[in-house]
């Protein structure tokens, strides 16, 4: 452990599998799919009609009354249940993470920074409002409304710096990397870092559908997300999130904190190729991976598990397989790879956060989550697949890739503590 090491000391999560790490881990290692036919709005004219949606988001006990939410809503009459799903998600995950780390009751005594991946909060807000007959999108905004991260910081009574970052589906890896750097600079004592997403709305489903990015396997929802499988036909939207408490390892050790993992390496770069389509050249994404490995001081052949970005699109999965081949070289056939998006769907802004949590689960339970629906592996993705069933084995170092629109490539290396 280096002097600047940063540990994960708390986790808050909610996914379609439930509002706890245990429920998430149980489902992943059992190989369960959360994908169903979309509920909540009519999808008959949508090309893709399946998603992994959240059904329930618990309310953190301190925020059970509308008055308690006033710093967040600016009003006294808005209950937790009336908040937008992504707002409820963020509050649940942040509060749960602080509680889990042991800092909840004394969070105001230290500088708690907040770095959250936030993708399209305003577009989603305005779409929901419009659907309810409002016209908020057209109204003047003379004073400007604070963003989700700022309001979350205010509600939780935190005094560290706060920011929203967005690199589409790579957002949460940036959030974790920036939070770690803020800690190293001494700008915060601990940081909440992660992302949440609940974007399964009519327009978002249509938008991704019209990009021809989504699976149309509507008759078999649970089989729709099938990364690396020859019959894959697009990704499946998912909802959920994860927020971590990041803390300098030295301080965490002093207070006897429980550590989930060390944030050992972060790498990032850009394709500069296309806003939507991944580069056919594996070089830029491979460079992000190499950065993360070098940052962690880990050789590629020391990686015990790769959680791939693999979204189940025909182009993207092959492109990532080439990136993995470029980085791992001869070790490629030895390193187990899976895509948990086969079970969770693609959580977009929150994907990297939930997949970092999948790596943590693998470390804790000494088991690798599988890629389900991998019945006929694509020969253009010649990897050591953890296919369909979890593998029991210890995980010392895990690597998670996340790539996003705008050409973003990110990689996170977590090390067991």
């Amino acid at each position: 452990m280096t002097a600047s090491a940063v540990w994960i000391t708390g986790v808050g999560t909610a996914t379609p599998f439930g509002g706890s790490v245990a429920a998430f881990g149980d489902a992943l290692l059992a190989g369960r799919s959360a994908v169903r036919r979309v509920a909540g709005f009519d999808v008959k004219d949508h090309a893709s009609q399946v998603a992994a949606q959240l059904s329930d988001i618990p309310c953190p006990p301190p925020f059970e009354t509308p008055a308690a939410l006033r710093p967040f809503t600016g009003r006294d009459d808005v209950p937790f249940a009336a908040l937008a799903p992504w707002e409820r998600l963020i509050l649940w995950c942040c509060a749960q993470a602080l509680a889990d780390s042991g800092w909840w009751a004394r969070r105001a005594e230290v500088r708690v920074g907040v770095v959250l991946g936030v993708g399209a909060e305003w577009l989603l807000d305005w779409e929901i409002d419009d659907g309810a007959g409002g016209r908020a999108v057209r109204r003047a905004r003379p004073d400007g409304a604070a963003g989700l991260t700022t309001r979350t910081r205010r509600l939780l009574g935190l005094t560290g710096p706060a920011t929203s970052v967005s690199a589409a589906c790579a957002s949460a890896n940036f959030a974790i990397a920036q939070a770690r750097q803020w800690l190293r600079l001494g700008w915060a004592d601990l940081c909440l870092a992660g992302a949440c997403d609940a974007s399964v709305t009519p327009m978002a489903l249509a938008g991704f559908g019209n990009l021809r990015a989504l699976s149309r396997r509507n008759a078999e929802p649970e089989a729709a997300s099938r990364p690396f499988d020859r019959a894959r036909d697009g990704f499946v939207m998912g909802e959920g999130g994860a927020v971590f408490v990041l803390e300098p390892a030295a301080a965490a050790r002093r207070r006897g904190a429980r550590a989930y993992a060390e944030v050992a390496g972060c790498g990032a770069g850009s394709d500069a190729h296309n806003m939507v389509i991944p580069s056919p050249d594996p070089g830029p994404a491979a460079e992000a991976m190499r950065q993360a490995l070098a940052d962690a001081g880990v050789a590629p052949d020391r990686i015990d598990y790769v959680n791939a970005h693999a979204t189940s699109t025909p182009v993207g999965d092959v492109a990532e397989a080439r990136v993995l081949a470029a980085v791992f070289g001869p070790a490629l056939g030895r390193v187990p790879v899976s895509s948990t998006k086969s079970m969770t769907g693609h959580l977009l802004t929150a994907a990297a956060a939930v997949e970092a949590l999948a790596c943590v689960v693998a470390m804790q339970r000494r088991a690798l989550p599988p890629t389900i629906n991998l019945d006929d592996p694509d020969p253009d993705c010649p990897l050591r697949h953890v296919a369909n069933q979890a593998w029991e084995r210890p995980v010392r170092v895990a690597l998670s890739n996340s790539f996003g629109f705008g050409g973003s490539n990110t990689c996170l290396v977590l090390r067991a503590v």
């Binding site: 993708g119 803020w182 850009s270 806003m275 460079e287 629109f405």
Partner: protein, 289 residues
Amino acid sequence: VGSPRKGIDRPAPAGKDTDVLKAIPHTDAAPRAVTCDVAAHARLRVPWPGVADLRRQPVPLPDGGPAAALVKHADEQTTVALAALAHAVRDHGLDGTDFSAWGVLAGPRYPGRAALVPALARFRAEGAWGMSPHLIPHRSLHSPSGTVSHALKTHGPNFGVAGSPGSASELLLNAAALLASGQVPALWVLLSRVEPEGELDAGGNYLAPAHVEAAALALTGQPGRHRLTLTVVGPDPGCVLRTGHGAPPRDFGLPELLALLDEAGATGAARGVLPDGGYVEARRAEGRR
């Protein structure tokens, strides 16, 4: 497959967690300052109707780009920010610079708002078929940085920041942290907004005159070679006492950043207080370009 580690899934906050805290204050070290050079900067203010012309004929970048096709679907703020960047390159003699290792951070305010108005109307009328596939890739918070990265062929990290008022503060904290990490040699930092953010008609046009404003700053991680330096310092441990519990933040956005640069240019130095604690200081160094 084993069971989860005991204690991992404690329920929501219940105030029983203080037993594990043995060291408060957590950190007493002074926060580190990050100093960088401003290698170039430019600002641009374009009337809302004029953005369409800029989209059709973008200000050329050193390599002749960006092609109009690159910004055809881009947000108005992206289009003007890219033009501001092109002016910064030209005005500060960066034409021959290799930007390939640079990063890009962009902080638009309420990106995509105007475009969403007609998109919502069309969606209501036509259903899923009527939803443009360009809205999500080109009108989200990540879009300006991605477009600029593509236009300049930068392979460093690119991401969007904030999306709300006060973007400059968040941009500076992120930019300084990224430069301090040594991951990139330099960054483009882009800040933009529509001002005033007034009422829109059914077509997504501002009812009162509005301008798209943007600033582009080229920040390099090796200070001391250019005429202007920026120093960014995050909150110190004392901010917990000064700021208090849940104190409302003060904005530090585009106008505050531009005022800071202007004041430093005129008087030699200026300091701005960031809303979450910490500060940014601009200093002019004589004898440098």
